[in-house]
Amino acid sequence: MAGKVKWVTDIEKSVLINNFEKRGWVQVTENEDWNFYWMSVQTIRNVFSVETGYRLSDDQIVNHFPNHYELTRKDLMVKNIKRYRKELEKEGSPLAEKDENGKYLYLDFVPVTYMLPADYNLFVEEFRKSPSSTWIMKPCGKAQGKGIFLINKLSQIKKWSRDSKTSSFVSQSTKEAYVISLYINNPLLIGGRKFDLRLYVLVSTYRPLRCYMYKLGFCRFCTVKYTPSTSELDNMFVHLTNVAIQKHGDDYNHIHGGKWTVSNLRLYLESTRGKEVTSKLFDEIHWIIVQSLKAVAVNASPSLTSSTANDRILKYNLINDTLNIAVPNGEIPDCKWNKSPPKEVLGNYEILYDEELAQGDGADRELRSRSGQALGPKAGRSRDSGRTVLTTWK
C-alpha cells in the first residue's frame, strides 16, 4: 500500500518523535485520518471508554490494548491472576497442580494479597496468624512508588477498617483502594542493597498471544543498604527502588542512576551463584510474565522520561525496535496482516512466547519442560554477557 504512515501522539518525548520522523512518517492531528497513535494513558481511557470511545478502523493501531489497566492496576492484576488460577484448576489443567500444603507448584508467584477495604476482615484473620510479619500497602491506581508504606501493626491501617464498617452509601472511590501484600523481607541483595527489575515486554497480538521481551532490561538499586529491621520500616530509600523515589535521596548519583543491565545481573549471579540456579531464575521470570499476560492481555505505559544519557539511548532504541515489530515494513497497518515478523526485524527483542508456535507442539510441552525434561533444540538464544536461553519451555 502506498502512502506514508500518519502518526499522532499526545506525549511530547523526543525518543518517540525522533523515531517517527526518521521513518519519514507524517505527523497529523487526532482529528485527521491517522494510522498510528501513541497515546497517553488518559487518552486510551477516552478512546476505549464505552460512552465516548470509538472503534478503530482496519488501518489504525495504538500502543495499548483497551484493557491494559487489568494488569497495571494492582487490584485488578491480583484478581485476574486468582481468577486465572481457579479457571485452570476447574479445567483440570496440570499447570494448576498444588503441593501437599495447598500451594500452587507452577503458579505461585504472587504473595498473599488482599484488597482493602473490601477484604479487611479476611486480611485481619491472616495477619493474626503471624503477627510479627510485615505487610506492604500499595495504592491501586498510583505508580512510581507513590503512597506506598510498610506496616507491622494493625493500628497502622485502622483507617481501612473504619471505612469497611460504614454504610454502603459511602462511595469508596477507587483512589482510596489499596492492596496489602505479605512483604518479602529476605530479598536477594547485591552489595547489600535491594533492587528490582525493569523489563520491557511488547505484546503484538493477544489472540494468538505473541509477546517479545527486550533484551536490554535493567535493575534499579536502592542507594541505601537493606535492613529488615523494624526501625527502618519508614525509610523508603531502603525498601523502594523506583527511581522517582531514589532521586531524592542524598546519595543518589546522577551519572548512573543506580542501574545495572540485566545481562550484568546475569554475569554477577552466574559468577557468584552458578549457572543452573541463574538459568532457573530467569526461566521463572519469563514464565511469570507469560502467565500474567495469559491471565489478562495488557500493555502498560513505560516511563519515557530519560534520567541519564545512556537511558535516553536505551529508550530511543527500544521504541525503534518496538515500531519495527508493531508496524511491519513501515507500511500502513492492516489488521488482517497477522504473520509473525521475521527474525531480522526483532532488533533487541526476543520472542518471549508465540502461541501459534507453541500450539504446534502441543500444550503439555509447557508442563513437561517445567519439570525439567529435555525438549530439543533451544529457541531464541540471545547474546549478552552470559548467554541466555530465553525459555526452555516453548
Partner: protein, 461 residues
C-alpha cells in the same frame, strides 16, 4: 599467628607514634625514582600541612565505636573531601616514564632502538608478533576460546560444553597448575571465582580470616591520611562506574585494610623499586626514624580502587575478596605503577605497545605522531588500570583470565595495540589529539578475544 597479629599492631602503633607532628623526607636513591618519590611525598606533606591533618593518628574511643557500626556502609559517610586531591594520576606517572634515561636494562638492543619514535626512550627488549604468537599459542585460530566460541552462533557441543566439563574436573582435582593452563582459553563464568582462587593459591583458612579481622581492627583504631585519599578515589572512580557503583562499600573494606597490611611490603623484595621510605623531620638517614608510609608501602593514585572493583563480581565475602586482591596486587598490579625492567613492568608494556604499533601499523603510527597524538598518551591509562573501567565487565574478566593464565601482563599491551588497529580507519581521519581521544573514548562495546586473535594471528606480518 597471634605473634604476627600483635606485630602488625605494634608496627602501626609505632608508625603513628613516630609520625606525630612530623613531615616525611625521602632519601634519594636513584635519579628518576628518587625524584618521583620526592614529588609524591611533597604532595602528601603539603596536604598534611594545608589541611592540618596528621599523617596518622589514633582514633578516640567514641570515633572507633562509630566506625565499627558503620563498617558495612562507609559509602554513606560523607566526609569533606573537597580539599583532598589524588597524590598523582596516571598521566603524571607517564611523564616520569617518558623522562627515563639509562636505567638498568636487560639485553637492550640499542642498534634498532635508534629508530624508535615513541615516547619511551629506554631500550628494553620486547617481543615481536612472531614471538607473541608462540607465547600466546592457545589464543590461536584453531583453538577454542571463551569470548569467541561461546557466542550464540556456535553450537555449545563444539567447544563450550567440553570446556566446562574440563574446568569442573580441574577444580575437583584442585590442580593449580592445570587451572592456570586451563584459563588461557577463558574461564566459564560459574567456575571463575574458584579457578582464580586455585591459581592464586587462596583458600580461606581460619588464620586468613583472623588476619583480615586484625587489619580491620587497625583501621578502627588508627586513622591514616591515605584513608581520605582512598575515600576520594572510590568516590571519584568506582562510585561513578556503571558496573561497580554497587560495590562501593566493599572497596573501602578492602582498601583501608590493604594500606595497613605490612606483609605487602615483602613484594618489594622482587620489585626493583622500593617502597617510599621516609624519615622523620630532622632525622634523615637515621634508620630508627625511618617509616614506610603508608604501612604497606603503596601510595594509592587516582584510579587505584579500580583494581579491586571487578573482583567484587566474583567474591562477596570480605576476607576472601581481600586475599584475592592482595595476591593479584603483589603478583601483577604493582608492576603497573612501579619502574622496573621486568617484561611485565609498565615500562616494557609501554615500549611493547609502541613497538607493535610502529612496526605493524606504521602509517597509523606516523599519522598520529604527526598530529601530536602520540598513541601512548591515549593507551597508557588503559594499561595502568589493566583496562578496568574501560571494558565491559564480562570482557574484562576474560582478559584477566589470560593474565592469570599466562602469568604476564604483556597481553595488556597487545590488546591496546589491537584496539588501535581496530579503529585505525577512523583514527587515520582525525587531525588532533582530542579527536583521537574521542575515537577511543568508549571501549565498552569491544570484544577482546576476537580483537586479540585477529591482531596476533590474522595480521600479515
Amino acid at each position: 599467628m597471634s605473634q604476627e597479629e600483635s606485630d602488625i599492631s605494634l608496627i602501626i602503633a609505632q608508625i603513628v607514634q613516630k609520625l606525630k607532628g612530623s613531615n616525611l623526607y625521602a632519601q634519594l636513591e636513584r635519579q628518576a625514582w628518587g625524584s618521583w618519590e620526592k614529588r609524591i611525598l611533597k604532595s602528601l606533606n603539603s596536604m598534611c600541612t594545608e589541611l592540618s591533618i596528621p599523617l596518622a593518628r589514633k582514633r578516640p574511643v567514641g570515633e572507633q565505636k562509630e566506625l565499627l557500626n558503620k563498617w558495612n556502609e562507609m559509602g554513606t559517610d560523607e566526609p569533606d573531601l573537597s580539599l583532598f586531591r589524588p597524590v598523582y594520576a596516571p598521566k603524571d606517572f607517564l611523564e616520569v616514564l617518558i623522562n627515563l634515561r639509562n636505567p638498568n636494562y636487560e639485553n637492550g638492543d640499542s642498534l634498532s632502538f635508534r629508530t624508535h619514535l615513541g615516547l619511551i626512550q629506554v631500550p628494553l627488549k620486547v617481543k615481536d608478533i612472531p614471538e607473541l604468537k608462540e607465547c600466546f599459542i592457545e589464543l590461536g585460530l584453531n583453538t577454542g576460546q571463551l569470548g569467541i566460541d561461546d557466542s550464540t552462533q556456535v553450537p555449545p557441543e563444539l567447544f563450550e560444553n567440553e570446556h566446562v566439563r574440563i574446568g569442573q574436573k580441574v577444580l575437583a582435582e584442585q590442580d593449580s597448575a592445570a587451572a592456570q593452563q586451563y584459563v588461557r582459553q577463558g574461564s566459564p563464568t560459574a567456575l571463575r571465582a574458584e579457578l582464580w582462587a586455585l591459581i592464586l593459591n587462596i583458600s580461606s583458612q581460619p588464620e586468613d580470616i583472623l588476619y583480615y579481622e586484625q587489619l580491620k581492627t587497625n583501621v578502627i583504631q588508627h586513622d591514616l591520611l591515605v584513608d581520605s585519599l582512598i575515600y576520594k578515589d572510590v568516590k571519584l572512580t568506582a562510585s561513578n562506574d556503571d558496573y561497580y557503583f554497587v560495590f562501593e562499600d566493599y572497596l573501602y573494606q578492602v582498601l583501608l585494610c590493604f594500606s595497613r597490611d605490612t606483609s605487602v611490603l615483602s613484594h618489594f623484595a622482587y620489585n626493583s623499586a622500593s617502597p617510599p621510605k621516609s624519615y622523620i623531620r630532622g632525622k634523615l638517614g637515621l634508620e630508627e626514624y625511618a617509616v614506610f608510609y603508608p604501612p604497606n608501602g603503596v601510595i594509592p593514585f587516582h584510579g587505584f580502587s579500580m583494581y579491586v572493583a571487578p573482583l567484587c563480581f566474583l567474591y562477596h565475602e570480605p576476607s576472601k575478596l581481600y586475599q584475592i586482591f592482595r595476591e593479584m596486587y603483589v603478583r601483577f598490579f604493582f608492576r603497573l605503577h612501579s619502574i622496573s625492567s621486568h617484561p611485565s613492568g609498565i615500562v616494557s608494556l609501554c615500549l611493547l605497545f609502541e613497538t607493535l604499533l610502529q612496526t605493524y601499523l606504521p602509517q597509523l603510527f606516523y599519522h598520529l605522531r604527526e598530529i601530536g597524538a602520540q598513541p601512548l598518551r591515549i593507551s597508557f591509562k588503559w594499561m595502568v588500570r589493566a583496562f578496568s573501567g574501560y571494558l565491559a565487565t564480562d570482557q574484562l574478566l576474560l582478559l584477566w583470565d589470560r593474565i592469570l593464565g599466562y602469568n604476564s601482563l604483556e597481553i595488556l599491551a597487545v590488546l591496546a595495540a589491537a584496539v588501535f588497529a581496530f579503529r585505525a580507519v577512523n583514527l587515520m581521519e582525525v587531525t588532533s589529539l582530542a579527536a583521537a581521544e574521542a575515537v577511543l573514548a568508549d571501549l565498552s562495546t569491544l570484544k577482546v578475544m576476537p580483537l586479540l586473535q585477529i591482531f596476533l594471528f590474522a595480521t600479515v606480518t
